[in-house]
Symmetry: C2
Subunit: 424 residues, 2 copies
Amino acid sequence: IFSPVLTDSPTEEIEVLALLPQNNSFLFSQSRVAPAIRYAQDRLRADHPGFHFNIHFEDSDQVNHALFALADRSCDRKPDLILGPVREYEAAGVVRLASHWHIPVISAGALATAFRDKQSEYSQLTRIAPSYVKMAEIFSAMFEHFTWRSALLLYEDDRRDRDCYFTLEGVHHLMDHYDMEVETIHQEPTFKYEDIFKTNLDMEVVIMCAGADRIREIMLAAHRRQLTNGSNMFFNVDLFNASSYGNGSWRRGDEFDDEARQAYASLNTVTLLRTVKPEYENFSMEMQRSTEELGLYGCDDCGNVNMFVEGFHDALVLYASALDECMKSGCTKKNGTEITSRMWNRTIEGIAGQVSIDANGDRVGDFSLMAMTNVETGSYEVVANYFGKNKSFQLLPALRSDHFTLKRRQEVPEKEKEVENPSC
Amino acid sequence: IFSPVLTDSPTEEIEVLALLPQNNSFLFSQSRVAPAIRYAQDRLRADHPGFHFNIHFEDSDQVNHALFALADRSCDRKPDLILGPVREYEAAGVVRLASHWHIPVISAGALATAFRDKQSEYSQLTRIAPSYVKMAEIFSAMFEHFTWRSALLLYEDDRRDRDCYFTLEGVHHLMDHYDMEVETIHQEPTFKYEDIFKTNLDMEVVIMCAGADRIREIMLAAHRRQLTNGSNMFFNVDLFNASSYGNGSWRRGDEFDDEARQAYASLNTVTLLRTVKPEYENFSMEMQRSTEELGLYGCDDCGNVNMFVEGFHDALVLYASALDECMKSGCTKKNGTEITSRMWNRTIEGIAGQVSIDANGDRVGDFSLMAMTNVETGSYEVVANYFGKNKSFQLLPALRSDHFTLKRRQEVPEKEKEVENPSC
């Protein structure tokens, strides 16, 4: 009378193709992510004793390798699940082909705006980390709360992975009803930071995505032009503690430290909201042990656990529960579309806290806003949080509202302007 | 003693995958190109009786279909040759995967600058039509001949196939040592043509790629700002007689015809150089018959023969001679890299004239320059030709050199400028 599927849990071999770089210089290198996937595998044995995950890692160092790996492998036997790729240009090709073949793809990357389109080419993609558009929601909430009207988006373009380009593209996409200007920070040594503020003077809010040193140069330039006196708001996005993002630290031990500290009093940083639960300690220690064992080099600021490491752990958990549910209602691991749809509009208990996937298959994001709360010591605190699930913007006691109140410049009516400057 | 391969010509089955759109609205739709490929097949029977081409057409209407078709088909049996895709965004994925599998690809498209890189991801690509960078050579030759120094590149961006974007990208790439500004002509109805010339006034040459109606609006705007008095040179690129390119025709039967005719006296058009040889007549008639039989609609200005139709015909001829040569020296149709290399640095007799492929696998291009030679009637003539093989720029008797002589504006030295306008 009882279905044997429910009682005996016969073994189900699940072929997983993980497309991550072999090169250790990434936050999401194979060597960093693999321990998290194995950790999830071990944990899943209790809940899903019948699931055997056969995980094959393929290199995705070069932009097309991941796609080739998928095309090559799939002739013999198509994978049941694909994890990764993270980088946008790699992910695009892989997710398209996987979607064509109805293979679920879960990535802690592919954060760019284009991947939102699940109607056609990215139909099988589930994003287990909050996309850049989700990150943009905290800006949208702030603009509404503080009644700001215009923004200058400043990004550094490495013309390779283009993380910062895609980051601010999310803001531009979500907030296109505001007055926005976009400017690139060029990587040439001849780039003049002062020039940024020669034009664009009437943009109230400056939202930046650039490396820490660039951010410091920009803030120093802004400070010297007296734009840090309350007439403008400055924001910096720092999502993965990667070197491509500025991390709010003004100190360099050089002659400009004091000036930088004063400038940074006007700089606020948007980061991922960190939650920690007791189980997380064990995971974090395990990850640390793994990276130490491997003697990983080449990525000083990668940390032991980051959004990608957590994300790929949770990816396997999410997939397992969707597959389990799917099989209980009679489908098989080959029903990719069905499994994908069961991963959407769902909340699971992830390694660091709850993971909610929205109806479009994208992780809901929680973010924090950090600001300098002690100008003497130059120290930062979280002053507000944004919770994506209920779209609430929560101010914390440390927030000084005058810090976020724009001192609007005197607006000169057109006619007076003409009179003021009759010679031109 | 004689090798049987040379004498008996045993049958060689050659699998060809042609990736072209089924939709008839393209110049390179399956229905237009197929008759040319069959024509080439018939002709090749005489020279290569052993070659049997099995041509499979797969749709490439949607951007990823071509790639999926290749990935899907290749599991059973990889094609020996791929023809197409034409459009850049489709071609990119297909050529990468084909190159990974060492399958020769010949396209009359993939004209964008990026496809020049044959060192890595596009290693198997042979381009049988002249790329946009080759087209740019005629501009380079003119700039040198007439000692022009700066250019404004104006393109219409359809944000789909982006032909005009890629066309002028070729100019920008080849001529990056000149002073260049780039501006997009937006497709919104609110776009103000006059605004184009509010800035960029010091660019001597205006090179445009846009639809015929846009070009007319721009020329009218330029004429009204008196920029058509010799202070600026205007060029228009019209490579495939497609509606995405302006074709130099000023007449609309509206109230602005007379003004437009005067404005167009300053407009010169770069086109492909047309050569016609006696055999071409038959080909052209055959193609016409085929399109009539099919009752093709939806492409008024496609003509019966165009660069793509000719190109794919010649592609088969080029491949057959390279394969033949390759087999005679002991390789097989599976030696894709070897066959590809034998298609490069080679000249064949194409259906419309000689086809020279350079050492990088790209077709050498010949172009014509057309200018209005009778302002009363508003009629155009070819006034110069550019031959890519020996990079020669040939002026024809119809060319009036004063027409191409820039009346440079009085250059005011910096100091005088300051004195002139003391109030600002």
